[in-house]
């Protein structure tokens, strides 16, 4: 098949995973060009702020569900065989309230709220929670073994795996897709561009996808340990507030969340929300503080991330923009990690299609 020079724009989990899968083909020469790289913390760079973990919300029978399903074995393999990736297994419990099913948030999280979500056959140790485990507040719930990803280790790990395969990384702040081919590390123009710019696809010239919008998530990272991941389908504090917590691998701390604030661009910490997050977390999981109050949370830092949500779903398609062949892979909302390999595989397939000589109508 074809030899090609490729520029991947964006070094979040989507860009890095796509670059990694592309790099497995020795005939591609790949440059990852991005404004932000692993190790940076910035409001424009969503990936480091994520949990991250495997809690599919995709609906059964959709392509999105396929992406999640394809990704699970990869994450499982990392957790099992590659401790250096910063991914570990963790038990998870998901609590659902009937009243949340019809809320906006509930519909967004749809699959997760079901009693029998499609992933029950994919993840290990899936079981329903018993009535006594649920208590009075929750109507149904399930538990299974999932993974929790320490983004601070995982993103650099992805980068280093790329480096092992000869991918070159370049800082760049591109205004337009057509500028991408020119920054390939060989000095020759790239044959193809992969667009993994997430929320910035809103303003990247040539893309300017108006369907992109942030879903703001605020978090608190603490040193306290939970050894469990859990989430509640909704809270009484407002329909944009949620409760979840997870403990990151390799001393990554325990992440308490959170919020799903649609259309909210605010990069600044909301202190009141922070307090509510902490309170809810402690209530859901008293073991965090041995039953004590939030003043016993040992805070590492607060976080604000803008989930790069796309109305109409993640966009993975090929397109010619101003003469430049582009494969898009953006708009992963709050599921960028759990769909990362599935989406990247589709992107890789499209890259192959672009590079194959095409018959002329």
């Amino acid at each position: 098949m074809a030899h090609a020079r490729i520029v991947v724009v964006g070094a979040g989990v989507a860009g890095l995973t796509t670059a990694l899968l592309l790099a497995k083909e020795s005939r591609y020469q790949i440059t990852v060009a991005a404004k932000h790289m692993p190790g940076d913390y910035d409001i424009e760079y969503a990936s480091p702020w994520a949990g991250a973990n495997y809690w599919p919300i995709s609906e059964a029978g959709t392509e999105a569900a396929e992406w999640d399903e394809t990704t699970w074995p990869e994450l499982e393999d990392l957790a099992r065989h590659h401790p250096e990736a910063g991914v570990h297994f963790q038990e998870t419990a998901i609590y659902n309230r009937t009243k949340d099913v019809d809320s906006k948030l509930g519909r967004y999280l749809a699959e997760k709220l079901k009693a029998e979500p499609w992933y029950k056959d994919v993840v290990p140790n899936f079981r329903q929670l018993s009535r006594e485990q649920l208590g009075t507040q929750y109507s149904n719930g399930h538990a299974f073994t999932s993974v929790c990803i320490n983004t601070a280790i995982y993103l650099p790990w992805l980068a280093s795996q790329c480096l092992l395969k000869g991918v070159v990384f370049k800082r760049a702040n591109l205004k337009h897709v057509r500028d991408a081919p020119g920054i390939h590390h060989t000095g020759q123009k790239a044959d193809l561009v992969v667009n993994c710019t997430g929320l910035s696809s809103l303003k990247l010239g040539g893309v300017e996808d108006q369907n992109m919008m942030p879903i703001r998530g605020q978090t608190v990272l603490v040193r306290n340990e939970a050894n469990i991941m859990c989430s509640s389908s909704g809270t009484d504090d407002g329909e944009e507030e949620v409760c979840y917590l997870m403990q990151r691998a390799a001393g990554g701390g325990t992440l308490l969340g959170g919020s799903y604030q649609r259309g909210n661009w605010d990069s600044q910490l909301d202190p009141n929300l922070a307090i509510r997050i902490m309170k809810r977390a402690v209530e859901l999981c008293p073991a965090l503080t041995d039953g004590k109050g939030i003043e016993h949370l040992d805070i590492i830092r607060h976080g604000v991330g803008l989930r790069p949500y796309r109305q109409g779903g993640t966009r993975i398609e090929k397109e010619r923009i101003d003469g430049v062949w582009t494969v898009h892979n953006y708009g992963h909302g709050g599921f960028g990690y759990q769909a990362s390999y599935g989406c990247a595989k589709k992107a890789v397939k499209l890259v192959g299609e672009v590079l194959t000589p095409r018959s002329s109508l």
Binding site: I43, Q210, M213, I275, G293, K318, I321, D322
Partner: protein, 633 residues
């Protein structure tokens, strides 16, 4: 583990004091943001604004040195451009000057204004520009800073000799889809907090430093309490406005697309190919011919050399620039010659003369599809349908590019397909034999674009049937349909059948370079690179046969008593043909190469592991004859 142990949240103490303890000590969020980026103007702006200042927050996010063309972002460009140091000066009324700078420092505004100067530029390109001049102009364009987004003058790398100026068509007729929850212009105008400033590339460093200094000064003047109070007040006001604006999803801007569009009848979006002017060959043996157009049509109808026909048509349009049929014929010849870019340029030129020319529209739709510009192809097909079947789709209902986000090509596709299906249903009883074959072709292209290949095969087959029934009144097009059928089969993995279709096409028209190219592609797909190379080289050889045939042709046409230095391809310094020197004659048809042919050939050689051969195939051309020894073509 008991997750709900009934533990109460500790409510010891005032929640706010808890907050103080937890959060005040920990400014790491802000700190992380600031570390590494250094004090920037963004940061200074931000510290004055706490809390949920949505629109400012979004601007913060979008604030970049981005060269996003203003026309493409017009409705929410106001937000994006506000704090943006590379922003634009809004000349629209209602953009009030920001309140806060003057509140805190009356001198601020004038300082900022001094720091920037408006860079005006006229982007009109008068008709007199030659393509080469325009390309130079365009180079300059690209390195300059973004300019005023006024409807009258905007070039976005789009070249076109149009009387009214390039600006129109380059202007993005682009409206974001209604619905996204984002602060709207109405909010933005209410606030009037910020100001668009324009930054001239050359002086931006100095200007940036001035703004930065201004910002820092302001920062020092305010204490934390001041900020909090102001922020809280602002927050309250904003929340109200913001809620309203977000949930209404109002856009107060709508492009007046008609203002721009109709002189070329074709609304161009920045996602259109924007290929520019047709590039003519330097030497053309037909340049002195009396009626090159007839020459060209004769060559085509005889199935002669397409490069020669193209030269004839080039001469025709150079003689008579508004010769519509010649432009159309030129485009068609080049497409069949597997030279897609010249084909598109020629057909687009035809559309400037007649926006509703059906063959040009259909030809363009196919060329756009080949080049990967499916959305453009769909809109072109829509226009074709509306022109031929206005009862199905009245012209005023044709999609404006502003209506649909270009990231939703599926919606556009469905819309256009449904129109075509209705047109197909017009034939009595749905009889495919009486169906308009062009409708079938259009449908075929639509299905092809969406990779619904079996449906496309049905359509092209039906078109072939009705052609053979003699229903079309255009010249025999069967070879084109065989090729389309072949391409569809090839893309759906039916390579052997595709090859048969191509061979039928070539039987009908041996000079059909495109079919020969496709044959090469299919040979690659079935794993016969040697044969593929042969077909590709054969196709390229046809591009080169111009000299030989050209001499002969000109003799016939012009009845000149000409001598050459030994016929086509011969050496020496003999007299050329038609007033051209020998060398010029041999160099004909070098201007427009077939990128497809060359790239595919190079790829074949690379895949064969023959880097040596691949290196001999360059973008500027290939010495086909030199491969004769190794390949049989």
């Amino acid at each position: 583990m008991a997750f709900l142990g009934g533990a109460e949240c500790s409510t010891a103490g005032n929640p706010l004091s808890q907050f103080t303890k937890h959060v005040q000590d920990d400014k790491s969020l802000q700190r992380d943001r600031l570390v590494g980026s250094g004090p920037t103007v963004q940061d200074t702006f931000r510290t004055q604004r706490n809390g949920l200042d949505q629109e400012a927050a979004m601007q913060d996010f979008l604030q970049q040195n981005s060269q996003v063309p203003p026309e493409a972002l017009k409705p929410f460009a106001m937000e994006q451009m506000r704090r943006d140091l590379d922003g634009y000066r809004m000349s629209s009324p209602g953009a009030s000057s920001p309140a806060w700078p003057t509140e805190f420092d009356p001198g601020e505004q004038s300082r900022l204004e001094r720091a920037f100067k408006t860079s005006k530029s006229s982007n009109f390109v008068p008709r007199g520009f030659s393509p080469a001049e325009f390309q130079r102009f365009q180079q300059m364009e690209r390195t300059q800073s973004p300019r005023i987004s006024s409807p009258s003058a905007q070039v976005h790398g789009y070249q076109r000799p149009m009387g009214m100026g390039y600006g129109m068509s380059g202007m993005g007729l682009y409206n974001p889809m209604p619905g996204p929850q984002r602060p709207m212009e109405s909010v933005v105008q209410n606030k009037g907090k910020d100001r668009m400033v324009e930054l001239d590339d050359k002086d931006w460093e100095q200007q940036f430093a001035e703004i930065d200094a201004a910002g820092k000064e302001r920062e020092r003047e305010l204490s934390d309490e001041d900020i909090d109070t102001l922020a809280n007040a602002a927050m309250e006001a904003e929340l109200g406005d913001m809620d309203r604006a977000i949930f209404n999803g109002e856009y107060s801007h709508n492009f007046d697309t008609d203002a721009f569009g109709n002189f070329d009848g074709f609304h161009h979006h920045q996602r259109d190919p924007n290929l520019g002017d047709y590039l003519f060959e330097d030497s053309n043996i037909f340049s002195n011919a009396k009626d090159p157009y007839s020459e060209g049509t004769r060559i085509m109808s005889e199935g002669g050399n397409l490069s020669l026909a193209a030269l004839a048509f080039e001469a025709a349009v150079q003689k008579t620039p508004d010769h519509l049929d010649a432009w159309v014929a030129l485009g068609q010849a080049q497409a069949q010659n597997e030279k897609e870019t010249p084909a598109i340029r020629a057909l687009e030129q035809a559309l400037t003369l007649d926006p509703n020319n059906l063959p040009a529209l259909m030809g363009l739709a196919i060329s756009y599809t080949n080049e990967g510009y499916e959305p453009t192809a769909y809109r072109t097909l829509e226009r074709w349908l509306s022109t031929k079947y206005p009862s199905i789709l009245p012209p005023d209902q044709v999609s404006q590019s502003s209506e649909m986000g270009f990231t939703d090509r599926h919606l556009l596709h469905e819309k256009v397909t449904s129109h075509f299906i209705r047109a197909a249903q017009l034939s009595p009883g749905g009889d495919t034999k009486t169906m308009d074959p062009d409708v079938q072709v259009g449908l075929g292209v639509l299905f092809y674009g969406r990779e619904e290949y079996s449906k496309a095969v049905d359509c092209f087959s039906a078109a072939l049937d009705s052609t053979t029934e003699g229903l079309t009144n255009s010249p025999p097009q069967a070879h084109l349909l065989w090729n389309r059928l072949g391409a569809t089969l090839a893309n759906s993995g039916r390579s052997e059948e595709a090859i048969q279709a191509y061979e039928e096409a070539l039987r009908l028209c041996p000079g059909f370079v495109r079919a020969r190219y496709n044959l090469g592609v299919s040979c690659i797909n079935i794993g016969c690179p040697q044969e593929a190379a042969q077909h590709l080289l054969g196709a390229l050889a046809m591009h080169e046969v111009v000299e030989r045939e050209g001499v002969q042709r000109v003799r016939e046409v012009m009845g000149e008593d000409v001598t050459t230095g030994g016929g086509g391809g011969g050496g020496g310094s003999g007299v050329g043909v038609g007033g051209l020197t020998e060398g010029e004659v041999r160099r004909m048809a070098r201007m427009n190469q077939s990128t497809n042919l060359l790239e595919t050939l190079r790829r074949v050689f690379t895949n064969m592991g023959r880097r040596d051969l691949a290196e001999r195939v360059q973008g500027g051309g290939v010495d086909v004859e030199s491969f004769r020894g190794e390949f049989d073509f």
